[in-house]
Amino acid sequence: MALLAPVIAPEDRIEVDLTRAKLPPSIGHMMGTDPLGRDVGAYIIWGTRTSLMVAATAVLLEILIAVGVGAISGYYRGVIDDVLMRITDVVLVLPTLVLLVVMVSMFKVRSLLLIAAAMAIVAWPWMARVVRSEFLSLREQSFVEAARSLGMSDLLIIARHILPNALSSVIVLATIDVAWFILYESTLTFLGFGDPSAISLGALISKGRNYLGTAWWTSTFPGITIFAVTLACNLLGDGLRDAFDVKTRV
């Protein structure tokens, strides 16, 4: 629904109109309006879109890094594995939120892409570890040995035989991470480290916070949305995992 924002949430709804400021939820404005007369419902649809986009970008970047590192580590083992795993450990022990804030504040211009990249950087070690452990166990499977005996190169074996088998856990982790990224992005924005020009769910909550006493709807509805989107991502992950398991296919 959020993808259709430009269609279902007309621009004029989020324009400033002081005549309809701080209206409680009604038929015209189902989630009420904010202190500048903007429709909260329409705003949420736009905000969800931004949040999802940032989270999706971050997850894609995360998968790219994590699968790369995890695959090399798990497949080749040895020294290269040790080096890569120590690097992951280092990133892993740093407190996530602090690292995020530091990275984001290092740059003068805060774009959504930058935030996505920063989130991918703090999150990849978790996934890399899972990918590595999957690879470690899969590489010992006899179908990998059989593939080798048929004359397949390492790259082909990784891409064709091991990765597809490791994919289901990557997907599940990815969907959980989408949920986390939405929360992280909201947290960052809430703390004032977000992209000031973007409307995201976190921005909505943070702006509405000041009016919590007089216009509760401005913060509450974006909050509920975060909850709902997060839940949806997790359910999607479960569904995808079932869909990827050939044994449940008819």
Binding site: G78, Q141, S142, E145, A146, R148, S149, G151, M152, K247
Partner: protein, 326 residues
């Protein structure tokens, strides 16, 4: 000259406890079109020989020396890239555990097709019909429909058939079958045995059958090499091994096999003692601690004698007898 000639091959596993000499300077050859049985008990290094030929020994294992002349070229001098072109095309392998040798996320069709396309330039349309004919040859009923199945929808025997189909997809010169029937139940074993006999006749490829099942050897092989603790102790044609074994280990191995010929088995013969530790094997003849005929002489490295043409044995006792006769 034979298709494959192995000389002084050494494959070692470097473990924390020490170097395991799984294959210790063995000599072996396979002629074109013949089936060689490599027999021995668990842990004697016979599977390692198979993996060594394909250069697939994984760390901590390492081929420590020797020569493997295959079709005129030394496999040990090849780069990995060149080996990838040989594996599956000229030498292919069938493994012991069909239950896990197929990738669970792809259909049988996809996997057999992959094996074909890896080495042969064949258009997509033709691949399908090739897959069907290969599966048919391997004895899979109704291949048009069954090839769309995933491995878990196949039984163990069917999976082994699919593996064999993949292994013969490029008409290899040598097929290494590592205990192809061990994990299957008896009736399926007989079927796979029948299949391998037929393929042997049809394809005229050389086969190295790695097994501990002497019945399988008797049915399928032309020649047999008996392996004990990393060494080949006796090598001969199949008839001689069964009728006139010379090495005490071969003799004991045959005695330990249940036969239906005797009226009743009173007591099941078993070789006393255990397989020696390959990190520090017994000095001299490795079978000496378990051998009924061992003498003081046996603590020295046994000589290899050719007691008959093509019948080689590593044993002092055999050498003595041979000299006496001569």
């Amino acid at each position: 000259m034979g298709l494959l000639e192995i000389r002084a091959l050494k494959t070692h596993y470097h473990t924390v406890e020490g170097i395991v000499r799984a294959v210790d300077e063995i000599d072996l050859y396979v002629e074109r079109g013949e089936t060689l049985g490599l027999v021995g008990e668990s842990g004697c290094g016979k599977s390692t020989v198979g993996l060594s030929i394909l250069r697939l020994v994984q760390p901590p294992g390492r081929i420590a020396g020797g020569h493997m002349i295959f079709d005129g070229e030394d496999l040990l001098l090849k780069r990995q890239r060149e080996m990838e072109k040989i594996r599956g095309r000229k030498i292919s392998m069938v493994f012991q555990n069909p239950m896990s040798s197929l990738n669970p996320v792809f259909t049988i069709r996809e996997q057999v097709a992959e094996a074909i396309r890896l080495h042969q330039d064949i258009s997509r349309n033709e691949v399908s019909s090739m897959v069907v004919s290969l599966l048919e040859r391997a004895g899979i009923p109704d291949p048009w429909n069954r090839m769309k199945d995933y491995p878990h929808e196949y039984s163990g025997g069917m999976r082994q058939r699919a593996m064999i189909a993949m292994a013969i997809s490029c008409n290899p010169l040598l097929l290494i079958a590592d205990e192809p029937t061990t994990s299957l139940d008896v009736t399926i074993q007989a079927q796979i045995l029948e299949l391998m006999k037929n393929l042997k006749r049809e394809l005229k490829m050389s086969t190295m059958l790695i097994t501990h099942d002497l019945g399988l050897v008797a049915e399928l092989c032309d020649r047999v090499a008996v392996m004990y603790a990393g060494k080949i102790v006796e090598c001969s044609d199949v008839g001689t091994i069964f009728k006139r074994p010379v090495h005490p280990y071969t003799e004991a191995l045959l005695k330990a096999t249940l036969t239906t010929l005797g009226t009743r088995v009173r007591e099941f013969y078993s070789i006393r003692g255990f397989v020696p530790d390959l990190i520090s094997p017994p000095r001299g003849c490795r079978f000496q601690p378990r051998c009924d005929y061992a003498t003081d002489l046996c603590s020295k490295e046994p000589p290899e004698v050719e007691v008959d043409s093509g019948h080689r044995v590593c044993c002092f006792r055999a050498a003595q007898r041979y000299l006496d006769e001569a």
